[in-house]
């Protein structure tokens, strides 16, 4: 690791490079990552997987409350995202740029490059991956999958005949999830004859009939916050929206709720607009029809041995039978469909698929092969060397 530039220098670039390529940084970052992983794992039983992931692993920094007896000591720690970025830079500087290249270090170089590639895969997937559920009853068709965690406000236009437009506007969750009661933000679009003022966001709420009058009661209903569930999928968020027409018409207020049966409708001239708070939906380039769902059990028990969905892929009018089962997903045009779960209800059997679209889907596989290859080369070389050194003299002595 020692390089020609190891003499003392005051060049800030050199110093910076030395810092970023140092073993000290590697050890520090790895140790902190270890601590963050431990804390993030332990916190899952309290705050659930999604929140702990956001707090510890997707974050730039985190303040963890250590409990010592009854006193709480908050400690600042760098978040997983920051640490992984640092690790990437550290590997790039230390193991790729600074390290001497040669046959002796080829294994190390390969394994570091592949780990960097894996981190990059993680970042690409963090930025661009979409994942959601596509539930289908037997006989039902669908081409939408909806996010497990991401909520949006959808605004869709309907003409005088009640025919809806082919696209809908969406306000992403990041733009309104901070709007707790007391905070508000206005949303506008040139395509809308009104502006929307959003406030009173609750992550998990019930909308209940309320007798008393009051600012929080709209049309006999009010938002009642409920304790946030640790499994985020079970949370039902709600918020209040105020619709102000641009032409100065009457102002309307409405509650939007994830579990509402119908959207709120705003009349604007002859047209109407629906407002709803729902999970973010994505469209597949093909549709799927569930023909038959089969559940195989271990004999004499209720324990499932295998779930299998027989589906038809509807693609530009052509139909093609497909089978999706446990550990055998269906792949097409970058989308992967997995057999996730099922439910049995009065309306028949419903099969639930998880749909994922991830540009870096297969990157970890390539990287894993490379890292195993690199490390094996390196360790085997070292082992051979070690054995040669340790066994030889003794054998001579024994002989």
């Amino acid at each position: 690791m020692s390089s020609s530039s190891s003499q003392s220098t005051t060049n800030p670039f050199v110093l910076l490079f030395r810092f970023f390529s140092s073993f000290g940084l590697a050890v520090t970052v790895l140790s902190l990552l270890l601590v963050i992983t431990l804390l993030g794992t332990l916190s899952q039983s309290d705050i659930g997987l999604l929140d702990s992931q956001r707090k510890y692993f997707d974050s730039w920094s985190v303040v963890h409350d250590f409990h010592v007896g009854s006193t709480v000591i908050p400690i600042w720690l760098p978040g997983g995202m920051a640490l992984m970025m640092l690790l990437f830079v550290n590997m790039a500087c230390g193991a790729v740029i600074r390290m001497r290249k040669g046959w002796k270090t080829i294994g190390v170089l390969i394994s570091h490059l592949s780990i960097m590639f894996m981190l990059a895969a993680g970042y690409v997937s963090y930025l661009f991956k979409t994942e959601g559920a596509l539930p289908l009853f037997e006989g039902q068709s669908g081409d939408l999958y909806q996010s497990y965690h991401d909520r949006v406000i959808e605004v869709r236009k309907f003409d005088a005949e009640g025919k809806g437009e082919a696209t809908t506007l969406m306000i992403p969750m990041e733009d309104f999830m901070d709007l707790e009661p007391g905070k508000a933000r206005t949303f506008y679009s040139k395509d809308l004859p009104f502006e929307l003022l959003v406030t009173g966001y609750q992550r998990n709420a019930q909308v209940v009939p309320k007798q008393e009058e009051g600012a929080s009661v709209i049309d006999g209903f009010g938002i009642q916050p409920v304790r946030v569930e640790t499994t985020d999928e079970q949370n039902l968020s709600a918020l209040v929206v105020t619709v102000t027409p641009k032409d100065g018409g009457a102002v309307e207020r409405a509650i939007l709720w994830e579990a509402a049966f119908e959207p709120f409708t705003v009349k604007a001239g002859k047209e109407a607009y629906t407002l709803s708070l729902t999970r973010r939906k994505w469209k597949l380039p093909f549709a799927l029809r569930l023909e038959d769902f089969q559940r195989e059990l271990h004999p004499g028990t209720e324990k499932p041995k295998r779930y299998t969905s027989h589906v038809t892929k509807i693609d530009n009018g052509s139909e093609q039978p497909q089978v999706i089962t446990m550990n055998v997903p269906m792949r097409d045009r970058g989308f992967v469909l997995y057999q996730a779960s099922f439910s049995q209800g009065t309306s028949g059997e419903q099969s639930v698929f998880t749909v994922a679209s991830n540009p870096s889907d297969q990157w970890p596989l390539w990287s894993c092969v490379a890292v195993a290859f690199g490390l094996t080369i390196h360790f085997v070389m070292h082992l051979a060397q070690f054995l040669k050194r340790t066994l030889k003299p003794k054998e001579k002595a024994a002989a």
């Binding site: 670039f13 740029i97 605004v155 437009e165 506007l169 990041e174 679009s189 049966f261 309306s347």
Partner: protein
Amino acid sequence: MNEFHSRRRLAVVFCCLSVLPFSSACKRLGERVEITETREISQYEAEPKLFAYSQQRFSNDPLSWETPAGWVQAERSQMRPINLRFGPNGEGECYLSMLPGGAGGTVANVNRWRKQMGQAELPEAEVAALPKRVLMGIEGVFVTLDGSYTNVGSAEATADQRLMGVIAALGEVGLFVKMVGPKELVVANEPAFNQFVESLRLRLPQGGGK
């Protein structure tokens, strides 16, 4: 020295790279935000019901219906999951009731209503010939009766009344919509009755959304 320079350049590049994600991570949210994202609607999506009112949107009631203009809601009960009143002084009533086991079948129920209106029992064949009417997606019989109405539990009959109702069977459950009131009032409210019966449905969460 050349090597050193190329290294330095690389180092600068990586340091800049490391800052890049930090800067892109923070999006400033101001007072006003333009809506820019859109999504394509799927042909498989269920079309929403426009102009739904709060009751329809939020109530976790398994039943959904439209209360006709001029009608008001009365107290609901186990026996009357939907209970409506109409008329100047609320003389007219219209309600939905459900009885498990169908309470004896269509014929028995038609004759129960006839008895309440002071009329003789009908034989099965004639009940079968009654006009049909769809209630919550199930075919039932439509009954119109004039006469003196004796309400359940009441001793005296009220004269000059009209009863209009539908009897249907959903599996084991008997479904009844019954409208009773002064004859003229009932006649005047027949369109409202039709609107109510047509709007009545069981709410099953549609695939997607919930």
